[in-house]
């Protein structure tokens, strides 16, 4: 029986998972979960998918029911922000003035939306999509016939556009890069999603930056989104999805090393003893890719939190997973395994026009990642190839006469972990 206290700062996926995993690993001390949102930890992915579409009840968003926290004795302090960490006294102070002592501190502070910075960006008709409160602020405006301008061609922007156009909104999607999903995928897959959205009725403009948000003077409460090419797109509502900024300020102010996130090792340990970080805020080493990364995903939040909880419980379970992601748009399920940055070859398996295909990314003949569109078997086999260090040739990957399951080359099960998928430099 330990009398230690773990304080978890952050009530999102990583915070909740850290608490749950501590109990699963046998931690018997006190667990205090502090969240700045006024609700128990919930899943964010549905916010731009089924929840936005009104297809998912609010109570289904919660990661665990309220009774769970009581049952396994996880204390939670919701709607509370942390002011500072005093690592020499192993204490945190809350904005409300209260102090809490810890033996172990987990920073699961997540991220906040990158704000639009152009003139007029603070207009009340400009919305973001990160929290439950963000979605609730949109409800009522998200109605058929309304004109919606979505700024940003990432997952959030595309998913929001898909839900909106299905609901009868008139949607314009403004994308800064040459294709949507430009930060995370290839031009081939980006172009595919561009076409899909156009066919669905979205007006999509690439290579388009927003210069200003103005009132539409002729028309009451409406807005005008002014682009760099001088167009004025009228809107009843604007949704911005231009990325996430990791919440590192609390850590940095306490002297914890930060570099695109809170710097941690494979056990989630920061540069200061007894302080850990996990989830969107944590910059960690990935042994498969042999480089540091900061990921914004459920998988990362869950698996990294498990490693932190195990470490606190004295177990050796380093975080060493293949990253994976998913996105639902229309009838399409995009599943991504691995990180494609640095690829020198993209191999398409299947017919893009059939809306069921996979694009495998290789570097020097070694698989780095896959984007699988309505191709779960290819997603699964790529995860297995990457996690087990198997090899597979480009020729086999595009040969549809070989079932996905049988794709790894035979007799090549020598691990490549040592060599990894190291890249000298990553964009």
């Amino acid at each position: 029986m330990t009398t230690e206290t773990v304080v978890i700062v952050g009530g999102g996926q990583a915070g909740a998972q850290s608490a749950v995993s501590l109990r699963q690993e046998g931690f018997t001390g006190r667990i205090v979960l502090i969240g700045d949102e006024p609700v128990l930890p919930y899943q964010r992915p549905p916010l731009s998918k089924t929840y936005l579409a009104g297809e998912l009840a609010k109570e289904r968003l919660f990661i665990k029911p309220a009774a769970f926290y009581d049952k396994v004795n996880i204390e939670h302090m919701l709607g509370q922000a942390v002011n500072a960490i005093d690592s020499s006294r192993q204490q945190i102070s809350l904005k409300g003035g209260q102090n809490l002592s810890y033996d172990h501190l987990i920073l699961a502070t997540g991220g906040r939306v990158r704000p639009l910075s152009c003139p007029g960006a603070s207009h009340s008709g400009v919305h973001y999509l990160r929290t439950l409160a963000d979605v609730e602020a949109m409800q009522g405006k998200f109605t058929a016939g309304a004109r919606l301008v979505v700024i940003g061609g990432g997952y959030v922007g595309l998913e929001t556009a898909a839900v909106a156009v299905k609901h009868g909104l008139k949607v314009t999607l403004l994308v800064a890069r040459p294709t949507p999903l430009g930060r995370v995928t290839s031009p081939e897959v980006g172009k595919f999603f561009e076409d899909v959205h156009r066919e669905a009725g979205v007006t999509l403009c690439c290579n388009t930056e927003v210069k200003a948000i103005e009132d539409d003077v002729d028309n009451g409460r409406a807005l005008a989104v002014v682009t760099d090419s001088g167009y004025r797109v009228l809107a009843d509502m604007v949704v911005v999805g231009i990325g996430l900024l990791p919440n590192v300020e609390l850590a940095a102010a306490a002297g914890i090393a930060c570099d695109d996130g809170i710097v941690v090792d494979e056990y989630g340990r920061t540069s200061i003893d007894n302080i850990y970080a996990a989830g969107d805020c944590a910059n960690h080493p990935n042994p498969i890719y042999q480089r540091r990364m900061r990921l914004e995903s459920v998988q990362n939040a869950v698996d990294q939190s498990k490693a932190v909880a195990a470490t606190i419980c004295g177990k050796d379970k380093p975080y060493a997973q293949v990253p994976w992601f998913w996105s639902d748009q229309y009838d399409l399920k995009l599943q991504t395994a691995g990180i494609n940055s640095g690829y020198d070859q993209a191999v398409v398996r299947g017919d893009i026009a059939s809306r069921s295909f996979a694009v495998f990314y290789l570097r020097k003949g070694r698989l780095l990642a896959v984007d699988a569109i309505n191709r779960p078997a290819e997603f699964v086999v790529a995860r297995n190839i990457l996690s087990k260090g198997l090899s597979v040739s480009a020729e086999r990957l595009q040969d549809e006469s070989i079932p996905a399951k049988a794709l790894p080359d035979e007799h090549t099960e020598e691990p490549v972990k040592k060599e990894g998928l190291s890249q000298q430099q990553v964009a």
Binding site: Q24, Q43, P45, R60, K64, V298, P376, A377, F379, N384
Partner: protein, 106 residues
């Protein structure tokens, strides 16, 4: 309400009354059944709600689709009784259903 029995690898058995239309992953989470994670929230993306269905019930379930079949390949101990809890929706015909939660999943 539809009665579903979840049996853990150590033999611990839990009866849960599941509302019609609710899937077995959500029902397990709501009732704090250990061994079911459901990391992706039930969209068949993560394979962390793997269950083995009692043999006599397998044919009474809706057949699995391609996605579920593929995702089950990510589980360690897949066999012919394997399903994903998020894809089994409680219906009156399933009253009395028995599922086993695998040892490796928690």
């Amino acid at each position: 309400m539809i009665k579903v029995t979840y049996i853990e690898s150590d033999g611990t058995s839990r009866d849960v009354n599941v509302e019609e239309g609710v899937n077995l992953m959500d029902a397990a989470l709501d009732n704090m059944v250990p061994g079911i994670d459901g990391d992706c929230g039930g969209v068949c993306a993560c394979a962390t709600c793997h269950v083995h269905v009692e043999a006599s019930w397998i044919d009474k379930l809706k057949p699995m689709d391609e996605t579920e079949d593929a995702m089950l390949e990510l589980t360690d101990d897949r066999n012919e009784s394997s399903r994903l809890g998020c894809q089994i929706i409680a219906t009156p015909e399933l009253d009395g259903l028995i599922v086993y939660t695998p040892e490796g999943q928690h």
